[in-house]
């Protein structure tokens, strides 16, 4: 295996609180040394030299919320196309959601996903397994054997665990394995048949609304159960001011919980639905401006720990339907980093160190995986980012099998140019 020397890049590694221009040496697939002069490394002929001048050298990005289609949704995405999309977006590790068909609720399915990822040979894939059998919210899945097979976390994906008794049992049971439960907080009775956020826009368009309280009420329940059980709960794609305030208060009194937000929720609002474009239909829905601002405030003060893509590919024929029939979800792996740069870093809401922390070491710690860091000795997963690259989002340019992006036609800034997984260059983009 050849060595890599990345020179003159601005190395930002939030896990070590590092932000300085330096050289980084990768040997035998591991992070080997910083501050190596070119002359010292070049004595060995097999060193490949990457000039990262003007670029950012970050730990490979970690996404803890992506749907990869397989098994059962191969018309939307496959593990091969989804992991290629991940690389293009700068991600070197992704945790994949279990809302597959069949769902990831047996050892066999976990092993299948892992094997498909090995065959694809793009990036690391960590399966998330179901909390309940068949994601029905009725009885617990065989969590112990799923952990043995390689599940890193448990979730019923977009199906909220409505029964509080089941949620409590799951949190208690998972204490034995120290694995997090990823919750989609939604009171279905409040939001069922909804198409978009309930507000002035939904009133005007006469589209059935999903009120903010549908999320906040369930967030409150989840917090109370996490508090009483001591279980590890992680709240997925939080989108409302009410939920964020509840999480903020819970953290202040020491409840062990983490929360994530998707790039869509801090960059777009329900105004986008005025076009009746089904590529703006997601769950939780795009909210009003006040909620968007609360998401940004939550990111700034640390209430929201993680930025996760919430990648939900949907085949074009599914989205080419009436808005109430079209499924929820947008692709996001290939735009997440650029949206963070364009909507958080460039306007000055977050600095690079804080933004990258929420896309590297924080999700890695929630999942308990040894990723998202450039510590010497770890697998060399590195993403080199051109912070000034600007590009226009085109439907034909995605590596994902689907093109249901809410950003089509928009110009975004910041893009991964070189993506290294375990010391091997897996993706390069000419800027």
């Amino acid at each position: 295996m050849s060595s890599l020397l990345i020179t003159d890049g601005r190395v930002i590694d939030p896990s070590q609180d590092m932000d300085r221009v330096t050289n980084l040496l990768i040997e035998n697939g591991k992070i080997s040394a910083f501050d190596i002069a070119i002359e010292d490394a070049s004595t060995n002929d097999s060193v490949t030299h990457i000039n990262a001048g003007g670029k950012i050298v970050a730990p490979g990005l970690v996404d803890m919320h992506a749907y990869l289609g397989e098994p059962g949704g191969e018309d939307d995405e496959t593990i091969h196309t989804g992991t290629r999309a991940a690389l293009s977006g700068g991600f070197t590790s992704i945790a994949c959601a279990p809302n597959t068909n069949p769902p990831i609720d047996t050892q066999g399915t976990v092993q299948f996903v892992k094997q498909q990822a090995v065959d694809a040979n793009h990036c690391h894939v960590y399966p998330i397994a179901c909390v309940s059998k068949n994601r029905r919210g009725e009885e617990l899945s065989e969590m112990g054997t799923l952990v043995d097979a390689g599940a890193v976390a448990f979730s019923d994906a977009c199906s909220p665990i409505s029964n509080p008794e089941l949620m409590r049992r799951a949190l208690e049971y998972l204490l034995m394995f120290d694995k997090p439960l990823l919750s989609h907080p939604e009171v279905r009775e409040l939001s069922d048949d909804g198409v978009m956020h309930e507000g002035l826009v939904s009133t005007t368009l006469a589209l059935p609304g999903m009120p903010a309280e549908a999320e906040a009420v369930m967030t409150g329940r989840d917090i109370l159960l996490a508090e009483s059980t001591g279980g590890r709960i992680h709240l997925m794609h939080i989108s409302t001011a009410g939920s964020i305030e509840l999480i903020r208060r819970a953290k202040a009194r020491g409840v062990r919980l983490t929360a994530e937000v998707s790039p869509q929720h801090f960059s777009l609002t329900d105004e986008a639905l005025r076009s009746f474009d089904s590529n703006k239909k997601i769950n939780p829905p795009l909210r009003g401006q006040m909620h968007l601002e609360a998401c940004i405030a939550g990111l700034k003060d640390g209430t929201l720990d993680v930025i996760a893509s919430d990648h939900q590919p949907q085949a074009v024929e599914k989205k080419m339907q009436e808005l109430d029939r079209a499924p929820f979800g947008v692709i996001a792996l290939e735009t997440a980093l650029s949206v963070v740069v364009t909507k958080l870093i460039r306007p000055g809401h977050l600095d690079w160190l804080t933004a990258l922390e929420k896309m590297t070491i924080r999700p890695a710690r929630v999942l308990g995986i040894p990723k998202g860091t450039l510590q010497i000795g770890v697998d060399a997963d590195v993403t080199i980012i051109d912070p000034d690259a600007n590009w226009t989002v085109e439907p034909d340019a995605f590596f994902s099998k689907s093109s249901n992006s809410p950003y089509l036609g928009e110009t975004l800034f910041g893009r991964a140019t070189t993506v290294i997984v375990s010391g091997i260059i897996k993706f390069e983009r000419n800027s």
Binding site: D192, T203, T204, L205, A206, L207, P208, F276, E322
Partner: protein
């Protein structure tokens, strides 16, 4: 029976749209252009009773994905009055039940060289989606509870015939505002022409959010009644309600039905309108529906005039 056709017999200035998707995005001038054209057509056809061959050789397709009798009949007759051929397509028994998307269905119909598609659908926004995907004119005949522009226009035309000016009038829309496309189209059209609009009904069916758009929100019909020049009594859309928004029809009628007793407390020249079909006894009692203040049947005739005007104007703009 044919009225004489003159060159440029109908005024098309101020109108340049090939589609009519709703009233929200029209200007006051555009709304007035349709109202004026409808008035001219009504006068030249003996009250929409005679033919005027302005669209001879063209084809209008009624594409109704949701049941409708009167709107479809009105569009069919309006098209025939203009000399167009009409084809009717309804969702039942079609390929839609075989899994075809509605856009594919519409493209198939367009391929038969149709000039205008009149579309009704249960989902808001489908006419917009259709207009983006096919080349012919698209007229929205009702998309869910979103818009029903020709209904809004015929309501406004009826008011204008009786009051000449819309500006300064107080018009109350009474009943199920949440599920009413008629309400939304009326709100946009009336506000653009300068009316004061009140939405009145049970609090579970009338959102406070309308206030943000300059619409008065009221829960008591008795409180607003003395101020109203026009009452438009909307039908309770039982079929669109997911959970029942009020305890009983009896209670609704007690609070909101327009009765002879309430008429005694209204302005002397109040106009009573209803987009129909009406639930007699729920929204309005027979004595009021059939009484001297009722213009419900005028609305039906004006519906023909408005639809003739819209078919003609959109066709001219598309040429």
């Amino acid at each position: 029976m044919h009225a004489p056709v003159m060159d440029n017999s109908i005024d098309t200035k101020n109108w340049a749209r090939a589609d009519l998707l709703g009233l929200e995005h029209l200007s006051a001038d555009e709304i007035t252009a349709i109202l004026d054209a409808a008035q001219q057509l009504k006068e030249r056809t003996g009250g929409c009773a005679e033919k005027i061959d302005l669209l001879q050789g063209t084809t209008v397709a009624n594409l109704f994905f949701e049941n409708s009798t009167r709107t479809r009949t009105s569009f069919s007759l309006a098209a025939r009055r203009l000399g167009a051929d009409v084809i009717d397509f309804s969702a039942s028994g079609s390929s839609l039940s075989k899994g075809e998307t509605f856009i594919d269905t519409a493209k198939n119909i367009e391929a038969m060289n149709v000039n205008t598609v009149v579309m009704r659908h249960r989902t808001p926004g489908t006419p917009q989606l259709l207009a983006q995907n096919i080349g012919c004119s698209v007229i929205n005949a009702g998309d869910g509870a979103h818009e029903h522009p020709t209904q809004g226009l015929l309501d406004i035309m009826t008011i204008r015939e009786h009051r000449e000016k819309i500006e300064g009038l107080t018009v109350a829309l009474v009943g199920d505002i949440s599920h009413s496309r008629t309400a939304r189209s009326n709100i946009w059209g009336l506000k653009k022409l300068g009316a004061h609009v009140i939405v009145c009904g049970p609090s579970t069916l009338v959102s406070r959010r309308w206030e943000e758009l300059g619409v008065e929100v009221a829960y008591s019909l008795d409180a607003i009644l003395p101020r109203c020049d026009v009452l438009n009594l909307l039908r309770i859309q039982f079929e669109r309600q997911i959970t029942r928004p009020f305890p009983s029809v009896r209670e609704y009628a007690l609070l909101y039905a327009m009765t002879g007793e309430r008429m005694a407390r209204a302005k002397e020249d109040i106009l009573i309108m209803a987009p129909g079909p009406i639930n007699r006894g729920t929204e309005v009692t027979p004595e009021v529906a059939d009484g001297p203040h009722s213009v419900i049947l005028h609305q039906v005739t004006n519906g023909l005039a408005i639809r003739m005007a819209v078919l003609y104007l959109t066709h001219e703009a598309a040429r």
